[in-house]
């Protein structure tokens, strides 16, 4: 049991784009931070601590605390801590912020995730995150292992490229309802995806997430502070993290054990017995279209191998029983340091009923997932009311 309940009381996001040439790094992050502070109607001085995160090797500025914590966020003379865990950076930030408030150390915390990916390059940067002796020579960024995974997953369970393409169609047309999303494609078709260039068999260009630039900021508060700030917060019910082996290829990347273990623990904490029935919306981290099918199995939405069937039955569509990624997901927006945090932001938006065109009706419980690094998974479950 935690000492305090924690709620999301302020949300800020930039409009995610391929290149933000109009602003430099602190100016870009400031947009999201200001939006979150205005949303919570808090003065900058009222923030107790700041947790920031990005993957330094994408911008080549290896001490980004100075740019993000101090100039873009009100970190002057305050505690500022950086968290960087690859693709899960955003969700690690979300969880770290949660720990700091739930433990009673701080009354409120500002959590900021960002990335200005196109200043360096995603694939190049990702290669430097891996072992120089064993992995760097052959590794092709994140897409290489993801392509291997998709091929193995397809061979084991018979998942088809068409089923994978349906995921992209679902997510990028959902993104058309999200004013912040990078790739909004209301008229996208399966043909469009399946006729795009093959970049790493079986991944085609439109099976893969884009490289986006932008920032996301969330403000958390404990139960006393939340009462003063807003009457429409989103409460954390459970957070869980599970890490995996050293080398990215020590295991096969589908039938993800970290997703299964983390989600089982989180469901137990949050009182969820049947995810499809007990959850109202899920924001999961799908770096490729094939990944979403596999992760829905790992999260217990369906049995192993039935991810394709789940999609075909329409359960994860906006009109289905458990809509997955109404925001467009990672396939539509991917500023790596912020991506997993955007999942939490979007889950909170759904709980608060602020989703406008992308709002799922009657959301009481939402799931947000982060995935990345060496196959690790982070699960956050939010709800309309405090758990206890």
């Amino acid at each position: 049991m935690t000492k305090h309940d924690v709620a999301v009381v302020g949300i800020g996001q930039t409009k995610f784009r391929s290149k933000r040439r109009d602003v430099n790094i602190p100016e870009m992050i400031y947009e999201a931070v200001k939006m979150a502070l205005d949303d919570a109607q808090l003065e900058p001085k009222e923030i107790d601590a700041i947790i920031i995160g990005n993957m330094d090797h994408f911008e080549g500025i290896n001490f980004s605390e100075l740019l993000c914590g101090i100039e873009a966020a009100p970190g002057y003379l305050k505690p500022v801590v950086k968290v960087a865990t690859g693709g899960t950076t955003g969700s690690s930030l979300a969880i770290c912020g949660y720990h700091n408030v739930a433990s009673g150390i701080y009354d409120n915390v500002l959590v900021v995730g960002w990335e200005k990916l196109n200043e360096g390059g995603a694939t190049t940067g990702i290669i430097t995150a891996f072992d120089p002796v064993w992995e760097r020579p052959s590794l092709a960024g994140a897409l290489g292992p993801l392509a291997l995974m998709a091929g193995m997953y397809s061979a084991k369970y018979g998942i088809t490229a068409e089923q994978a393409a349906k995921v992209t169609v679902k997510n990028r047309s959902n993104a058309a309802n999200n004013p912040f999303a990078h790739l909004q494609m209301p008229n996208i078709t399966i043909d469009y995806v399946m006729s795009s260039q093959m970049i790493a068999y079986p991944l085609r260009l439109h099976d893969c997430c884009p490289q986006s630039e932008g920032a996301c900021a969330l403000i958390y508060a404990n139960e006393q502070e939340t009462k003063k700030i807003t009457d429409n917060p989103a409460w954390f019910h459970a957070v869980e993290t599970a890490h995996y082996y050293t080398f990215g290829t020590d295991d096969k990347m589908f039938d993800l054990p970290t997703a299964t273990i983390a989600s089982k623990k989180a469901y137990k904490k949050a009182g969820i017995k049947n995810p499809i029935k007990d959850l109202d919306v899920a924001e999961i981290y799908e770096p490729t279209s094939w990944s979403e099918l596999s992760w829905t199995e790992g999260l217990g939405f369906c049995k192993p191998g039935e991810g394709g069937k789940l999609l075909d039955e329409g359960i994860t569509q906006m009109s289905g029983e458990l809509p997955v990624n109404p925001s467009g997901g990672v396939l539509s927006t991917n500023p790596i340091g912020a991506t997993a945090l955007v999942r939490v932001a979007e889950a909170a938006i759904q709980i608060m009923g602020r989703g406008e065109k992308r709002q799922v009706p009657d959301v009481e419980k939402a799931l947000a997932m982060g995935f990345g690094g060496s196959l690790w998974t982070e699960i956050m479950i939010l709800g309309k009311n405090p758990l206890r």
């Binding site: 290149k19 933000r20 040439r21 109009d22 602003v23 430099n24 790094i25 602190p26 100016e27 400031y30 900058p44 001085k45 090797h57 911008e59 080549g60 101090i70 100039e71 873009a72 009100p74 002057y76 200005k116 196109n118 200043e119 360096g120 390059g121 190049t124 940067g125 430097t128 120089p132 002796v133 760097r136």
Partner: protein
């Protein structure tokens, strides 16, 4: 001995090209230096401190700064050191001096190169003046160095 070390290490390199967006504030600052040999700062509307080099947000007040103020090309040295060792990433061949310079009219300090490599001739409190590059290249080194007056 060297062989022993070679066995135990893997020599790698990280060579990545970057393209950083500078933002409107830095662009104006560098352009004025190159085109008009003028140094500008921005003033915080709340605490009135003039920041050089300019940035969008005042760190202490967390306010957006929009008032541009022309700063003189001269200032006082608040601290200095003389670099005598060489590494591959130095902007100049050593020996050369770095100084923390408080330009006239600014409320923050500016770090730059001082063209005097004899530590005996450098003194805290001494006056220096900016010397601009003949052919500006849109870089901070368009102020080539500061020289003692």
């Amino acid at each position: 001995m060297a062989d022993e070390i070679e066995k135990k290490v893997y020599r790698g390199r990280i060579k990545v090209p970057y393209k950083h967006t500078a933002g409107a504030y830095v662009e104006k600052f560098i352009t004025e230096i190159g085109k008009n040999n003028k140094i500008y700062g921005v003033k915080c509307p709340k605490c009135n401190k003039v920041n050089v080099p300019p940035k969008m947000i005042c760190i202490e007040c967390f306010e957006k700064m929009e008032e541009w103020v022309e700063i003189g090309n001269q200032g006082i040295v608040k601290g200095f050191t003389v670099i005598t060792h060489s590494t591959p990433v130095m902007p100049l061949e050593p020996p050369f001096a770095y100084g923390i310079i408080r330009l006239d009219g600014a409320d923050t300090d500016f770090v730059h190169i001082i063209k005097e490599s004899d530590p005996e001739k450098l003194k805290i409190g001494m006056k220096v003046k900016a010397v601009f590059k003949e052919n500006p290249r849109k870089r901070i080194l368009d102020i080539e160095y500061f020289e003692p007056i």
